[in-house]
Each structure stands twice: as C-alpha cells, then as structure tokens.
Symmetry: C2
Subunit: 195 residues, 2 copies
C-alpha cells in the first residue's frame, strides 16, 4: 500500500488480521507495517504506538454495535416498545457476531477484557442511548423512575447475560429467549408508572 | 492415609490441591491417589473416574455458597428485606472468596466453566431458595408477580454481574455498590404490588 493512501481504517483492518494470527502478546507495530507494506514511521503518523493502535482496534469493534441501536433511539413509537427493541437489537447484534465468526468474537472478547477502560467506555456510550429512551418515557409519564441515568445503568447491568461476551456460550441455548423475556417483564414492571 | 479412613471429603481436598498445582488437563486419578498415599483402586471405590471426581469437586465448591444463604430463606422478616439480604449474602460470599484466594477462585471459575451442566445445576439450587422467598412475599401480598419461579430466574439473571465469576474483576470497583443498589431498586419495583 502506498503510504500516502494509508488510512486509519486500513491500518485497523490490518491490525485485526495480524492480532488474529499472532495474538496480542506477539503482535508488534512492525508486523502490522509489514502486512500493509508500509514503513514503521508511516504507521506512527496515525497511531502513537501499539497501545494506541490496540485501543483504536477495540473501540472500532465496540462502536460497531452502536449504529444499529441508534435507530431504536430515534424511532417514533411508545417508549416501552422502543426500549424493548433497543435491548433486543443489542442482543441480536452480539449474538450474530458470535455466530458469524466465533474465533474473531473470542479474540475481541479477550482483547476487550485486557484493554483497561474499554468496556467501561462502551457502557457509557450504551448508557447515553438508553438514557435518552428512558427520558422520553418519563416525559410522557410511561416510566416512573426518578433518575433516567441510574435506570439505564440498572437495565444494562440487569441484561448483562445477553450482551457481555463472557456469556456468549449461553446465547444459543433453547431457554435464552424465555430468560430474556422474564428479565424484560421485571424491568418493564420496575420502570412502570404506578398511576 | 490408611485406605479404610479415606473419605469423600479427604479425596476432594486432595483433588483440589492437585488440580491447583497441575491444572485440569494434566491431573489424573494416579496423581490424586499419590497425594493421598492410597491406591488407584481405593479412589475408585469412592469415585467412578476422573469425570465423576471432577464433578464432585466442582459441586462441593458451588454448594459452599448455599449454606450461608439458607439463613435468609428461613428468617422471619419482611420478604423485601429477606430478598435483599439473600442477594447481598450471595454477593458478599462470592466477593469474599475471590478476595481471600484469587488463584483458587480463578481455578474454580475455569473448572466450573469447563464442567458441563455444573453452573446450570447450581442456578437451580439458588432458584429454589429464591423462589421460596418470593412465594412468601406473594402470600402476604408484598410481591405481585405471577410466577415465583420465573421471577426468581429473572432476579438471578439480572444480578449476574454480582455473582458470576466472569465479573469478579469488577467486584472491588468503587461503584459496584451503587450499581447493585440501582438493580435492586429496579427489581424491587418490578416485584412490588401495585395496590
């Protein structure tokens, strides 16, 4: 690749392949430069070293789930239905990723776990979307919670089993749907207005 | 150890030490017999092979959490408080184990994950206790849920972050308490009678 056409995204693609092949411990910037056919220095113009590059790889992976969720945030519908759809979209997105390429999914799960702050930052992004749905439910009197942000955190934590990679092995089990629905019922009831 | 004084528990103790030292793949019945100074045949009088022994080791570890929980099931108090105490006891028990001997905790976490059905069986035990608390709350009109067993499952799933070993790294974080309380609030509200 010519160094002047090198983009962040092409570097991240190459880093993903190299990481997949060699693992985090054995991958260095030279391997990624070699895979792209560019110099060490060209890489450093985009990323300030292995730690920065790795963080960017992880972020791009995690951000991938936000776009499909964004639709549920924007749509016009009853807040309960938007909330349900948002949670199901998150769940389906993760499950589909794990199903499509289990090896890549496992690599990223390990990479995320090893990258300090990555998962917390991702939770913050998810929280923002969720908070916005809950706020609109509060505005129309559908949800009676006091603090939309706190409720968003509680809902994210309560649905851990369906979006945290540590539980991917359960996602294809026959009772996964029933378990999700049981939590959903509890959550919805917990949010509901008492009037 | 004299073969006639060999007990299931002494074998499980020895198996734990050997597993800890060598890991699951490299441990066999002979290693455990050697650690106890007894014959292969003596071990087989108690356990029908490595798989059975390993299952028993895992079960003993998981059952350890049930005894302290049993107290919250039996106590006389408002169902909301018993439920809260049960969840906090489970959480504290797991956290204390992880804190006291992180290496042993990690070994068991891996062992549990690799032992088919072990975690599901453990969930069933927990569910029974939880269901009994919820039923007594339904009986006095404190909880309005329709199906105690389904609510018990939902609550166990919703509190995954605080008792599943995959999340042990978060248990000492400063906001762990706040997150737990946020879920508790949602759960309690979700169960509460609307009258």
């Amino acid at each position: 690749m010519a160094e002047e056409t090198l983009t962040k995204d092409s570097i991240l693609d190459a880093a993903e392949s190299v990481l997949r092949k060699f693992g985090l411990a054995k991958t260095n910037m030279s391997d990624i430069g070699r895979a792209l056919g560019v110099s060490h220095a060209a890489l450093y113009r985009h990323f300030d070293g292995k730690a920065a590059l790795r963080k960017a790889v992880v972020e791009r992976w995690l951000l991938g789930s936000l776009a499909p969720l964004e639709a549920s945030v924007r749509e016009e519908d009853a807040p309960e239905r938007r909330l349900y759809r948002w949670l199901q979209t998150l769940r389906a997105f993760k499950r589909e990723r794990a199903r499509k390429d289990p090896e890549l999914f496992a690599m990223y799960a390990a990479l995320v776990a090893e990258t300090e702050g990555a998962l917390e930052e991702h939770l913050q992004h998810l929280m923002l979307q969720l908070t916005s749905i809950i706020e609109s439910g509060m505005a129309v009197g559908a949800f009676a919670c006091e603090d939309a942000g706190q409720s968003a955190m509680a809902i994210l934590m309560a649905t851990t089993r369906f979006h945290h990679a540590a539980h991917a092995a359960e996602w294809e089990l026959p009772d996964s749907d029933a378990r999700f629905e049981a939590i959903w019922k509890l959550v919805l009831n917990g949010l509901a207005s008492r009037t």
